[in-house]
């Protein structure tokens, strides 16, 4: 039974939302009849960006609602996609007549629930488009890229899509830019120790004393291989290799780099990882435009991290560089 600072485990999702809304100091508000939030001020006529998914990955998704980021976020129960009526309520609360882009991780549950919501929205006259994020190189071969899971690369896609939704006027165009960002993002994770679901208090998987799982998914789904613990540099080399050859990233490319904490890994370790990633990228003449290191997309208290790369082009860079402000991500 893993200790957690919670009250009734059944209330965690609602209490988390309450705490988050307070932390936003008025920048977001709750959407009625939904475990969802929206920006307090949304420009009329704006194409809106709705992100969402299961809870348990905080600050994803609701921590990324804000200026030049998402307009709203809808959260399901822990590790469970939000239900269609919740998504629909959020969609209706957001729509400014220009439609809503759905952006979420590619999981059976999310896909089905957002699709049902999209059908319901359509029948109510609200246009939606969907970008499913599938950045996790570990989760399926390139030929079946649409079978891959969405992990921390979500953050890059939200950043770019949020910028595009702030600047562009049509849902089609925002969709195009968001899909491009998704297509140019690749990630790879590793887990050292499991997280746990509040309602059970049990770890979501078991792993041996000196073992790690390369490619572990965000809910404790298995990865590509279980191995003996190895030095950071060796581990990072293996992960980075898999990422680089997947897109592939090439000499002369300019990228944004995210080293994401899955939960319990120390910043010290993440910085040691960054050192090696940068050395490997420098070797390949890949330049890094910006680096994000921290807990953006977690799996409760899982120990481990992921590395994500977004390949920039002129258009993506312009959206990436826009200032942004939300609970979990501020860019000056």
């Amino acid at each position: 039974m893993i200790k957690k600072v919670i009250n009734n485990p059944k209330d965690v999702v609602v209490e988390t939302a309450d705490g988050l809304i307070l932390a936003y100091h008025g920048d977001v508000k709750k959407i009625e009849n939904s475990n969802a939030i929206k920006r307090t001020e949304i420009r009329p006529g704006k194409v809106c960006l709705l992100v969402g998914g299961g809870s348990g990955h905080e600050p994803l998704f609701a921590g990324f609602v804000g200026e030049n980021l998402a307009d709203g976020a809808v959260s399901g129960n822990v590790f469970a996609a939000p239900a269609p009526d919740q998504i629909l309520a959020a969609t209706k609360a957001l729509d400014q007549g220009k439609g809503v882009l759905y952006l979420y991780g590619n999981y059976a549950g999310d896909n089905m629930n957002f699709d049902i919501a999209a059908e319901l929205a359509e029948s109510e006259g609200i246009a939606t488009k969907t970008v499913r994020i599938y950045d996790d190189v570990a989760s399926a071969p390139l030929e079946r890229i649409t079978d891959r899971r969405g992990i921390a690369g979500d953050l890059f896609v939200i950043k770019i899509a949020g910028g595009a939704a702030a600047k562009l006027d049509s849902l089609e165009e925002v969709y195009r830019v968001a899909a491009k960002a998704r297509d140019l993002t690749r990630s790879m994770g590793v887990a050292l120790a499991p997280g746990s679901i509040p309602e059970t208090g049990q770890p979501t998987f078991t792993i041996g004393e000196g073992e790690i799982e390369i490619g572990m998914g965000l809910h404790g789904e298995a990865g590509v291989s279980r191995e003996k613990m190895m030095p950071a540099d060796e581990l990072v080399s293996r992960m980075t290799d898999l990422i680089l050859k997947d897109l592939p990233f090439k000499s002369g490319d300019e990228v944004c780099l995210l080293i994401n904490n899955l939960g319990a890994t120390t910043m010290m370790e993440l910085l040691i990882v960054n050192r090696k990633v940068r050395a490997l990228l420098a070797e390949k003449q890949i330049t890094v435009h910006d680096t994000l290191i921290g807990s953006y997309c977690t799996s409760q208290e899982m120990a481990g991290f992921s590395i994500s790369l977004l390949k920039l082009d002129g258009e993506l860079k312009q959206y990436y560089d826009l200032p942004a402000k939300s609970f979990a991500f501020t860019k000056g």
């Binding site: 822990v78 590790f79 469970a80 919740q86 549950g109 089905m112 899971r149 789904e221 298995a222």
Partner: protein
């Protein structure tokens, strides 16, 4: 003596029995999902059938399809995740098979099952062998179609037995869909959690009919 059909209120009672059974199966289902998924299936199903119970105690029904449909929407809106959409779709689909009925008999149950399966496949796109609840549901529907009698009790037992066999077969499959899919060969030996759930639903239904007889 076996039961031939259920009145509207008896069917409501059956759904309540299914709900109680599923709530009591929480830990078993969660453990099944811990082995090859993300460990939340029992939590979700329990939450879903709590909502079904609350709905059943509040609503009055005029037709069998309303019980199916409201069970489906309750599951859909309270579970979330893959199983919310799939089990919600199953019951909402099943409603279409019994349009206008005020009792549930064997032919009606067959139609409901077939319509439920159709909706599940339409929503989730899973086929036999993907290691999902379809691996239990589809053989159950086939067994129902093969049944020529007119006892709802017998039919439901056949359905349960076929689902159970299908569920057992999922142990020999590697997952190709859902959160277990990347586990590949490591899913061998474990039954798919959703296939256990649909089997249990049929079991509790069959038990209810047996106990009525």
């Amino acid at each position: 003596m076996t039961v031939e059909k259920l009145s509207l209120s008896e069917f409501k009672g059956a759904m309540l029995a299914i709900a109680d059974g599923m709530i009591a199966s929480k830990d078993l289902l969660t453990q099944a999902d811990q082995a090859i998924g993300d460990g939340d299936h029992g939590i979700g199903m329990a939450r879903g059938f709590e909502a079904v119970k609350a709905m059943l105690s509040e609503k009055n029904f005029a037709q069998i399809e309303e019980v199916f449909f409201s069970t489906g929407t309750s599951l859909l809106s309270s579970i979330g995740g893959a199983s919310g959409a799939i089990f919600g779709s199953f019951f909402m689909g099943a409603a279409k098979g019994v349009k206008g009925c005020i009792e549930l008999d064997a032919p009606g149950f067959k139609n409901a099952l077939a319509a439920g399966l159709e909706m599940v496949k339409k929503r989730g796109g899973a086929n036999i062998g993907d290691k999902t609840m379809v691996d239990a549901l589809e053989p159950a529907v086939q067994a129902a179609m093969a049944y020529n009698g007119n006892s709802l009790g017998e039919l439901s037992l056949q359905v349960y037995i076929a689902a159970e066999a299908g569920m057992q077969r999922t142990k020999t499959f590697t997952a190709r869909i859902g959160k277990a899919k990347t586990l590949g060969e490591r899913t061998l030996g474990f039954a798919d959690p959703g296939s256990i759930s649909i089997t249990l639903i049929f079991k509790f239904f069959s038990d209810y009919l047996k106990q009525m007889a």
